[in-house]
C-alpha cells in the first residue's frame, strides 16, 4: 500500500541522496570539461587526465598515498585486530582507553604532538613518519570494528572447538578468525580510506618530498579548483567505489548493519 506518508519518505530520501551525490557527480562531469572554469560546460575532453598523467608531482603524490595506505592498512589491521581481541577477551579498563583515545582527540593535536615526538627522536620526517602516524590513528578504528564483531559472535562455537580438541591457536584460526573476518576486512578498508584522505596529521608528519594527494590537492585549490583536481578526485572516487565493491564481494556482511 502506498500511503501518503511513504511518498513523503521517498521524497525525503531522494532529497538526502541528491544532496550527498550531486556534488560528486558534478565533479566527475566537470573533469571532462574543456574549460579551466568549473562553471559552464564547453565541450568534452580528456585533456585534464592527460595533464594529470604527465604531472610528475601528482604521480609521486599518488604513489606515496597508495604506498602509505597499503602499509598502514596492513599494520593497523594486524595490531587493531589484536587489540580488539584483547579488549573483548579480557575485561581491561586501561587498554580501551589507550587504543581509543587517538580516535577522540582532535586531529590537529595528534599531528602536532606526533611531529614534536618525531623531532625529539631525531627522526627524519618522510614517508616512514607519515606511515607510523597513520598506523597510530588507524589502530583504534580497526579495534572498534573487530570488537563489535566479536561481541556479536557466539562464544559457544569456540568452546565447542576446544571441547573437540582444538588448540587455542587452531580454535582461533579455524573458528574465530573466519567469523570475524568481515570485521577485519571492514577495518582494513576503513584504515586504507582513512589513510588516503587524511590531511591534518599527514601535513604535520610529512617531511620534505613526502607529499600525499590530499596535501597536493589542498595546496592546489588555493588558486582555484582546476579541472585537474576534478580529474584526480574522480579517479579517487572510482578507487573507493572499487574497494567498496570488493568488500561486498569478500565480506558481504561487513557492509550490512547487524
Amino acid at each position: 500500500m502506498h500511503s501518503k506518508q511513504s511518498k513523503w519518505l521517498w521524497a525525503a530520501a531522494l532529497f538526502v541522496y541528491a544532496f550527498l551525490y550531486l556534488p560528486l557527480i558534478i565533479v566527475v562531469v566537470y573533469s571532462f570539461n574543456d574549460s579551466k572554469l568549473n562553471a559552464e560546460w564547453v565541450g568534452f575532453t580528456f585533456k585534464w587526465y592527460e595533464i594529470l598523467f604527465n604531472d610528475a608531482q601528482m604521480l609521486t603524490a599518488a604513489r606515496n598515498t597508495l604506498l602509505i595506505g597499503l602499509v598502514t592498512s596492513i599494520c593497523a589491521t594486524v595490531l587493531g585486530t589484536l587489540a580488539g581481541l584483547a579488549m573483548h577477551k579480557y575485561k581491561l579498563r586501561l587498554l580501551p582507553l589507550l587504543v581509543l583515545t587517538p580516535i577522540a582527540i582532535p586531529e590537529i593535536l595528534m599531528g602536532v604532538s606526533l611531529l614534536i615526538f618525531f623531532v625529539m627522536l631525531n627522526m627524519t620526517l618522510g614517508l616512514v613518519s607519515v606511515t607510523l602516524a597513520h598506523i597510530a590513528f588507524c589502530i583504534g578504528f580497526v579495534a572498534i570494528v573487530v570488537r563489535s564483531r566479536l561481541q556479536g559472535m557466539d562464544e559457544s562455537l569456540v568452546e565447542a572447538a576446544r571441547d573437540l580438541g582444538a588448540t587455542p591457536v587452531q580454535a582461533f584460526r579455524l573458528v574465530t578468525m573466519p567469523l570475524i573476518m568481515p570485521g577485519i576486512i571492514a577495518g582494513a578498508l576503513m584504515a586504507f580510506t582513512l589513510s588516503i584522505d587524511d590531511f591534518v596529521i599527514t601535513f604535520f608528519t610529512a617531511g620534505a618530498g613526502a607529499s600525499t594527494l590530499p596535501l597536493q590537492i589542498y595546496s592546489m585549490i588555493r588558486i582555484a579548483v582546476t579541472p585537474e583536481v576534478n580529474a584526480i578526485s574522480t579517479l579517487l572516487m572510482i578507487l573507493t567505489l572499487c574497494l567498496i565493491l570488493l568488500a561486498s564481494k569478500l565480506a558481504p556482511s561487513a557492509l550490512r548493519a547487524e
Partner: protein, 352 residues
C-alpha cells in the same frame, strides 16, 4: 609487511644520498621550465613541498620539522622565524645576482639590511573589474571610491565583492580616507569602519575564495583582491571568449603590498644548493618566467627585458617610482590592536 617497511626506509635513505634541493613553497609559485633549467645547471634534483597558508608553514617549522632548504615566506612571517632561530644569514658573496634586485624592495622593515632574506615576488591588493561594464557606466577604477563611495556604488549595487580579510579591507578604507594602511590610531580606525559600514549594503559578499571565477563569469563586475588573481581572471575570461576582459591597476590613494622572500633554513641539509638556487632565481630571465606565468610583480629590475610587453606596462607588476611610494606593506599587529581590530570587524560583519 616488514619487507615493505624496509623498502620504504631504503627508499627514504637513498633519496638523501643524491643531490637534492628541497624547496618549501606555495603551489604553482615557480615556473616549471625554471625548475628544469636549474636542475640542469646544478646537476641536482628539486623536490617541492607546498603549504596552503603561511601559518601552516610557521607551525610546522616551529614544531621542529626539518629537511627543507629554501622557504618562500611573506614578509610578515620573517621576524617570527628569525626570533625562533630558524634562519641562517645569507652569504652575500655567493649571491652575485642580488645586485639585480630593485632597491625599492630591499631593506624592508621585516629584515633590515637583508640579512636573512631576498625578495622573490610581490603582489598588490587592488581592484579588478569588468572593463566593458565599468567603461559603460563611466566609473573611475583608479580610486578606492569604486568600492567605498555610495554614490559610485549605487550604479554597481550587488556586483561588488571585497576580500574576507579584516586587515586588507580596513587598510583599503584607511587609505581611502587618506590615512596610513598601518595606522593604529583608534579615531582613524573608527573613521575607516564608518566608511566600510556605509559601503557594505552595496556589496554582494565578502569573498576571498572564488572572486576570480565570479569576475570571469560576469556575475560580479568589481572585486577587491590580489593582482596575481586578477591576472588569472583576465586569462580565464579571454580563454572563455567573453565579451569583456578583467582589468586592474593601482589605486591613486595607495595599495597594500605583500612581498614574498627567499630564506635559507638553519637546518637546511644543502645550504650550498640553497645559495645556488637563490642566485639562480635572481637572474632576470628566471625571475621573469614567474611573472609571465602567474602575473606576480617582480622586485627584480633585470627581469623587465624578459617580461611580456603587455605586462611591463601594468602598474601592478612594475609600479613606477611614484606609485611605489604609495605601496605599503602591512606590519604585524600587537595583541591589543589585534583584538580591537577583531571587535571592529565583528561590528562590520553584523551591521545591517
Amino acid at each position: 609487511m616488514k619487507k615493505i617497511l624496509l623498502a620504504l626506509m631504503l627508499a627514504a635513505g637513498t633519496a638523501s644520498a643524491e643531490d637534492v634541493l628541497h624547496l618549501y613553497n606555495w603551489n604553482n609559485y615557480i615556473a616549471p621550465e625554471t625548475v628544469k633549467n636549474f636542475e640542469k645547471s646544478c646537476k641536482c634534483r628539486v623536490v617541492q613541498d607546498y603549504y596552503g597558508a603561511m601559518e601552516e608553514m610557521l607551525a610546522k617549522l616551529a614544531a621542529g620539522a626539518k629537511g627543507y632548504d629554501v622557504v618562500i615566506p611573506t614578509g610578515f612571517a620573517i621576524p617570527p622565524m628569525v626570533k625562533q632561530n630558524l634562519l641562517q644569514p645569507l652569504d652575500k658573496a655567493k649571491l652575485p645576482n642580488a645586485k639585480n634586485e630593485n632597491p625599492a624592495f630591499m631593506n624592508a622593515a621585516f629584515d633590515q639590511g637583508n640579512k636573512y632574506s631576498l625578495p622573490y615576488a610581490f603582489s598588490t591588493t587592488l581592484v579588478g573589474y569588468n572593463d566593458k561594464k565599468i567603461k559603460e557606466l563611466g566609473i573611475d577604477p583608479t580610486s578606492w571610491a569604486i568600492i567605498f563611495d555610495p554614490a559610485v556604488l549605487a550604479k554597481i549595487k550587488g556586483k561588488v565583492t571585497v576580500l574576507d580579510d579584516s586587515r586588507e579591507v580596513f587598510a583599503a578604507a584607511l587609505m581611502y580616507n587618506g590615512f596610513s594602511a598601518n595606522s593604529t590610531n583608534p579615531d582613524e580606525w573608527k573613521k575607516a569602519q564608518e566608511t566600510i559600514i556605509k559601503a557594505k549594503p552595496f556589496w554582494a559578499a565578502f569573498n576571498g575564495q572564488s572572486y576570480i571565477k565570479e569576475l570571469t563569469l560576469g556575475n560580479i563586475w568589481v572585486a577587491h583582491g590580489y593582482s596575481s588573481d586578477m591576472f588569472q581572471a583576465n586569462i580565464d575570461a579571454k580563454a572563455a571568449k567573453r565579451a569583456f576582459g578583467v582589468a586592474y591597476g593601482l589605486q591613486k590613494e595607495g595599495n597594500t603590498l605583500s612581498v614574498d622572500n627567499m630564506v635559507v633554513l638553519k637546518t637546511a641539509p644543502r645550504p650550498d644548493l640553497a645559495a645556488k638556487f637563490i642566485d639562480f632565481m635572481l637572474d632576470g630571465k628566471n625571475a621573469a618566467e614567474l611573472t609571465n606565468m602567474i602575473g606576480t610583480g617582480t622586485p627584480n629590475a633585470a627581469a623587465a627585458q624578459f617580461v611580456k610587453p603587455e605586462m611591463k606596462q601594468n602598474s601592478a607588476v612594475f609600479p613606477s617610482a611614484e606609485q611605489m611610494k604609495k605601496l605599503q606593506q602591512l606590519t604585524a599587529l600587537e595583541g591589543k590592536q589585534l583584538r580591537d581590530l577583531g571587535r571592529l570587524w565583528t561590528q562590520v560583519k553584523t551591521a545591517k
